[in-house]
Structure formats: structure tokens, C-alpha cells
């Protein structure tokens, strides 16, 4: 990237004023970007008097778990957490399997309408799923799925598929053709090659792809709000969070604690797959 001499570490910052300035600004930006998350976690641990203070301080000397207790006590929060996990988990597993098969079909085979299909998957990614809330509402009603977690799982599988297929293509392509031929020569059947050779090799890519399906399902607010109308035992986290968020008098401690609980799983998942995510995105974008 840089000419080689720029890469050698030097102790005197004055010798590389530009790099020092760049590194300082990178750190400042990092602090600014991370600040909302820090403030969220801090707000979750602040005692009630400190959070609703007109002189907010960026630290607390008396961290307390009161807000978390309120969140888990007042509402059936644990249940909503599990509901969210069930929805996101089902979406991830089912869409990963379906996308793996489809991605294999479009990368490992040449057949009529292949290019047409690929363009359709691309166009499908662009469909504003929110616009489909109304017909989906009636469809879920006809399936008898309103007020069940199924009404959240099914649409999200459909909406995460096009992107997952598109992104997995790169990973499936990366497995050498020679490997496939060798497997067949050794007498492996097609399904044996598919599940025992190709699948484990593509698994890292599947995990990265899953990050996107997981997040879209975990974050879903619109469908949860529209399809889970009366049975609150089927609510997911975004709806539960808003219980503490009354526009006139929000319980900020509760909101921050609930937000923290909702954000942590995604954060952990993201940090775990970030390396693959970046390379996968590069592949999906460049192909």
C-alpha cells in the first residue's frame, strides 16, 4: 500500500507528521463512533438518580443492576429474548441450507436460464420488503400464523435468501473443480460430495452469510409490530424494548438496559465472524 519506508515504525512522531495526524484522527473517530454504545452500557448500569440527572457524567461511581432487574422483572423479558433467539436461529439455519443448495446449483452447473435466475436473485435483493407488509399480513392470516413466531420466521427466510445465495456463490466457486472430479473418480455420489466435502468447505462462508440473516431477523421491528398484534407472549425483543420507551416519559435506565441486552448477542456474533465477513463481502462485490 504505502511505499516501504512508511511502514517502518519510528519513535519520533515529528518525522511522520502526516501519519501521526492520521492515526490521531483515526483514534478520535473510533472514540466518537463507539461513544453511543459506551453511553448505552453506562446508562444501563447507572443508578436511577444519576441517569435522570441534568448534569450527565461520562462515568458512574455506583454501578447498579436495578435497571436490568426492572427489565427482567417487570416484563416477560426472558421470554422475549428466547423468542427472538428462536426466530433468528430458525431463519439462519433454514436459509443457510436453502442458500447453500441454490448457490451450488448456480455455480457448479451450467443450465438454461442460469443467468436469468442470477439476475432475478439480484433484483430480489432490491425489493423493499417493508412494502410487502400488507399482503404478507393477509397471507399470514390465511396460513393461521398471525400472532405466532412462524409469521416472523417465514418472511425473513425469503428475504435473506437472495443476498445469501449471491454471497455464497463466491465461497462455492472458491472450492476447486478438481476436488469434485477427484471425489467422483473415487466413487463418491453427488449427494456425498455435496454434504461431506463441499458443505464443510463452504461452512465458514455460510457462517459469514448467516450474520446478515441473523441480524435482519433479530432486528426486525416492522413485521413484529404488524403480525404479533394481540398475543404478547409471542413478542420479540424490539417490541419489548419499546414498552419502556414511552414518548412522553421514557424510563431511560430500562431502555438502556434492554438495549444492551438486545445488542450484545449481535455484537458477539459480528466480532466472531468479522474476518470472514470482510473477505466474503469483497468476494460478493467483486464477482
Amino acid at each position: 500500500m504505502n511505499p516501504p519506508r512508511l511502514n517502518r515504525p519510528r519513535l519520533n512522531p515529528l518525522r511522520h507528521p502526516w501519519r501521526t495526524a492520521a492515526e490521531a484522527s483515526a483514534l478520535i473517530v473510533a472514540v466518537v463512533v463507539a461513544f453511543p454504545l459506551y453511553w448505552m452500557v453506562l446508562g444501563a448500569f447507572k443508578p436511577a438518580g444519576e441517569i435522570e440527572s441534568t448534569e450527565p457524567r461520562p462515568w458512574t461511581l455506583a454501578p447498579s443492576l436495578d435497571s436490568f432487574r426492572r427489565v427482567f422483572g417487570q416484563q416477560d423479558f426472558g421470554r422475549y429474548f428466547v423468542n427472538s433467539l428462536v426466530v433468528a436461529g430458525s431463519v439462519v439455519i433454514v436459509s443457510a441450507l436453502i442458500a447453500f443448495l441454490a448457490a451450488t446449483a448456480v455455480t457448479r452447473f451450467r443450465f438454461r436460464f442460469r443467468t436469468t435466475l442470477l439476475i432475478m436473485f439480484l433484483v430480489a435483493q432490491m425489493v423493499p420488503v417493508e412494502a410487502l407488509t400488507i399482503p404478507l399480513f393477509f397471507q399470514m392470516r390465511d396460513f393461521g400464523l398471525l400472532n405466532t413466531l412462524g409469521s416472523l420466521v417465514l418472511p425473513h427466510i425469503a428475504f435473506s435468501l437472495p443476498f445469501a445465495i449471491w454471497m455464497l456463490r463466491g465461497f462455492v466457486k472458491g472450492v476447486p473443480e478438481a476436488l469434485e472430479e477427484a471425489a467422483y473418480i473415487d466413487g463418491a455420489s453427488r449427494s456425498r460430495f455435496l454434504w461431506q466435502i463441499l458443505f464443510p468447505l463452504v461452512l465458514p462462508g455460510l457462517v459469514a452469510t448467516s450474520a446478515f440473516s441473523f441480524i435482519s431477523a433479530w432486528n426486525d421491528f416492522l413485521f413484529a409490530k404488524s403480525f404479533i398484534i394481540s398475543d404478547t407472549s409471542q413478542s420479540t425483543l424490539p417490541m419489548a424494548l419499546l414498552v419502556f420507551f414511552k414518548p412522553d416519559e421514557p424510563d431511560w435506565g430500562g431502555v438502556m438496559a434492554a438495549s444492551t441486552v438486545m445488542t450484545i448477542p449481535v455484537l458477539v456474533f459480528f466480532v466472531l465472524v468479522q474476518r470472514r465477513l470482510v473477505s466474503g463481502l469483497g468476494g460478493a462485490v467483486k464477482d
Binding site: M1, N2, A22, E23, A26, V29, A30, V31, V33, A34, P36, L37, W39, M40, I51, E55, P56, I98, L101, A102, V106, R108, F109, R110, F111, R114, T115, A124, M126, V127, P128, E130, A131, L132, T133, I134, P135, A158, F159, P162, E177, E181, W218, N219, F221, S226, P238, L242, F245, P247, W252, V255, M262, T263, F270, L277, V278, L281, G282, K286
Partner: protein, 296 residues
Amino acid sequence: MTSVTHRPTWTPWLYLAPALLVLGGLLVYPIWQLGLISFFRYTQAQVSGGEPTTFQGFGNYSALFSDPQFWQVLLATVLFAAACVVSTLAVGCALAVLLTRVRAVPRLALMLAALGAWATPAVTGSTVWLFLFDPDFGPVNRLLGLGDHSWTYGRLSAFLLVLLEVVWCSFPFVMVTVYAGIRAVPAEVLEAAALDGASQWRIWRSVLAPMLRPILTVVTIQSVIWDFKVFTQIYVMTNGGGIAGQNLVLNVYAYQQAFASSQYGLGSAIGVVMLLILLAVTLVYLRLLHRQGEDL
């Protein structure tokens, strides 16, 4: 291609069957239904079966197009999305370039912070930003000495607040993707440019930007599509569209018409308008890809 993959079989269609089934049933069919409902009179009475659904042609559309609020919301949506896209791309690209100029530790710090913002769910991001800008208890007003100035009261400042949150959670995608793209540019090319005496800005404009064009196209189009259909942030941060609907965008407007006012036909017509606009964007995108000689 090898002989293995050349042999025409029905296997690919077998592999594709589950995907096509799901997409057909839960994506294509709802689009068809959306179009259909938009031509009917469809309100609470029809949903409960009290009145028969009546076909009314373009009735919903003419009602929509003659409503000044619709045009106002459409204009606000376009301007808001444009502002979000431009800011996201500017911030994302600038930080991607910055990432290539620094050593490992600052780079890791910025990457991790960006990943955190990226991973934050839209609902929690919205509540946290509201809290930061809260007139009574938020740190931002104290820091800027704004007293109890309310950010959500004025139309523009409410949109600005939502824009900040949207940029915060969507610039990481641009930054990470563009950074990966820059890393893929051969070092010799940049060294040659630097040796020829090109300035940083000149290198970006004449060397990097043209080489990164495919990637920039993708992130631009993705941003347009995401920002055009922002729902959660507007809904949560402006409490369902702001005072007297001043912060409505098409998506929230459609939701309010359909589920709050039970005007399902009208809501669907708004959905169709959105679908058509994004379809047009997609076609432009496909043309650009085609012109760049991308091979599917």
C-alpha cells in the same frame, strides 16, 4: 468448465427447488397481491368481511396523487435518502482511505468501533441516539450548551437527528467494503503514482476511484436502497412520523395508512409506488454493471 458440470441434468433444478419455492411463495406472490390490493377498496369493513371487496381501478392511486401530503412525503423521502446516501458515502470512503494510512492499532480500534455501530440493531441505535440528544438528560445538549433544546420538535432538526443515526450505523458497510477494495489495488500502481509526484487527492481521483468503480457502484446502490426505505429509525425516533406527520417517509406513511387507518388499499398503492421507484434504481444498477462488463 469441466465435463462434470457440463452434462445437462435436472440436478441443479432439484437444488434450486427449495429456494424457488420459498421465493415464489413469500416474495413473488406477495408482490402480486400488493399490486392486486392496490386496485381494490380494502378497509376494515372488507377485512372483517362486513362488505365485499370492490374493484375500483386506479381509485386508490388517484386519491393518493391528488393528496398534497403524498407529494410532500415523497419529496421528503427523496431528499432525506439523498442526504443519507451522500453523507454515508463521504464518511465511509474518507475513513477507508484513512484506514490505509495508519498502523495496526488505530486501524483495529476504528474497525472494532465501526463493527459495533454496524451490528447495533436499528431499534436500539434509535433509542440510544435519542437518549444522547435528550433535551433533559442527554450529554450532547450539555456539551454544546443548548439548554433544553428539543431535537425532535423541529422538522429539519428531527430529520438531521435521524440522519446522524442512519449514517452512524451504515457507514461501516461502505468503509469496510471500500477498504477491502483499496487493499486489492496493487501497491506498485500507487507507488508509481506517488513517484510521479501525484498528491493524495489526485491519487484518489485519478487512480483509486476509477479502479474502485465497481465497488463504489455496489455500495452506492445498496445505500440508496437501504436509505430509501428507512422505517425503524423514523418510527422510533420521531414517534411514528413526527409532530403532525412532519417526518413521514414513504415507508412509514404506507404503514400508517394501512395499519393505523385501516386503508389497506391506499397503503398498498404507496407500496407499489415505492416498489416501482426502487425497481428503476435497480435497472440503472444492472445497466451500470453491464456496461462495466461484469460477468455473472
